[in-house]
C-alpha cells in the first residue's frame, strides 16, 4: 500500500517539467510579508500562483523568443520555466494575497490575519 503510494508520488514528480528557482527577496513588516521574485520573460498569463493549505507555489513559463529561423548561438537561460514554493505560517491571510507582475518582477504581498483557505490568486496587470 505504502509502496504503491510512493511510486505514484514519484510518477507525479517526474511529470513536472524542469524548472529553475527564481531569485527572491523576502521581507516582513508589521502588517505582512512581501516576496519579490525575479522572473524575466514571464508574461502575466503565463504566471501561476497557487495556495494549497499552507503551501504557496509560484510558477511561470518564459515566453518563447523565436523569430523566424532563430538558431541559438549561445544560451545561458536554457530552462524556460521558474518554479518555487514556500511554506506559509498560520497567521498569514492567504485569502488576501496580492500579486503584481511588472518588468519580470513578481511582487507578492501576504497580509497577516487569521483564516487560511485554499484559493487561487488573481494577478494584477503590471
Amino acid at each position: 500500500m505504502s509502496d504503491s503510494h510512493q511510486t505514484e508520488r514519484a510518477g507525479a514528480a517526474q511529470e513536472l517539467p524542469r524548472a529553475v528557482l527564481p531569485n527572491v527577496d523576502v521581507f516582513e513588516d508589521a502588517s505582512g510579508i512581501t516576496v519579490l521574485a525575479d522572473m524575466p520573460g514571464v508574461r502575466k498569463d503565463q504566471l501561476e500562483l497557487k495556495v494549497e493549505g499552507d503551501a504557496l507555489l509560484i510558477e511561470g513559463t518564459v515566453q518563447p523568443f523565436t523569430p523566424d529561423g532563430l538558431e541559438a548561438l549561445y544560451a545561458e537561460v536554457r530552462v524556460p520555466r521558474y518554479r518555487r514554493s514556500f511554506t506559509l505560517s498560520r497567521e498569514l491571510d492567504t485569502t488576501r494575497i496580492e500579486a503584481n507582475l511588472k518588468d519580470g518582477v513578481l511582487a507578492l504581498r501576504i497580509p497577516k490575519q487569521e483564516h487560511a483557505q485554499p484559493r487561487r490568486i488573481t494577478v494584477n496587470a503590471g
Binding site: N23, V24, D25, V26, F27, E28, D29, A30, L36, D38, M39, P40, G41, V42, R43, Q63, F65, P67, D68, G69, L70, E71, A72, L73, Y74, A75, E76, V77, R78, K102, D103, G104, V105, A107
Partner: protein
C-alpha cells in the same frame, strides 16, 4: 576568502567546487561553448544569443529595470549592456525583517562579442517583461540571397 577555500586542495569547499564543475560538464548542452566575457550567474543578467537569416538577436534577462536607464552600446563588434537596479527592499523601517536577499542590485555590465558580419548602423532594442531584446541586422552582403539563373 571564499576564493582561498576553493583553491585549497582537498578542502571541503574545494571538493564542492570540483563537484559543481563535474555537474556543469555532465549537464551542459553539447556544442554550446561559453563566451570569454560570460559573467558568473547572479552578477549580471543572463544572456541568450540567437541568429536569424537577417539578424543577430540578443536577449538579456534583466528584470525590474527602468528602460530609460538601460545603456546599450555597440563598439568594434562588442555589444555592451549596462544598467543599474535598485533594491526592492524598503529602507528606513526599523522593524522590517529581511529573511532572504537573493536578487542582485547595483550596477552591472555585460559584454557580448558579435559576429563579424553585423551592421552596426542598424540596431534596435526593446524592453519587455524584464527581457531586453537587442536586434542587430546582418550586412546586406551577409544575408542569404537567391541567385537567378540566366
Amino acid at each position: 576568502m571564499y576564493e582561498s577555500f576553493l583553491n585549497y586542495p582537498n578542502s571541503l569547499f574545494g571538493q564542492f567546487e570540483r563537484l559543481r564543475r563535474e555537474l556543469d560538464e555532465a549537464f551542459a548542452a553539447p556544442g554550446l561553448a561559453s563566451s570569454i566575457r560570460s559573467a558568473a550567474p547572479g552578477t549580471a543578467p543572463a544572456v541568450n544569443v540567437g541568429r536569424t537569416p537577417t539578424s543577430v538577436e540578443v536577449y538579456a534577462f534583466a528584470p525590474g529595470l527602468n528602460a530609460e536607464k538601460i545603456d546599450v552600446t555597440l563598439d568594434r563588434g562588442v555589444l555592451r549592456i549596462s544598467g543599474e537596479r535598485d533594491s526592492g527592499i524598503p529602507t528606513g523601517d526599523a522593524k522590517l525583517q529581511v529573511y532572504t536577499r537573493e536578487r542582485g542590485t547595483g550596477r552591472f555590465t555585460r559584454a557580448i562579442t558579435l559576429p563579424d558580419d553585423v551592421d552596426p548602423a542598424r540596431v534596435s532594442a526593446s524592453y519587455r517583461d524584464g527581457v531586453l531584446q537587442v536586434s542587430i541586422a546582418l550586412r546586406e552582403s551577409a544575408q542569404p540571397r537567391r541567385i537567378t539563373v540566366q
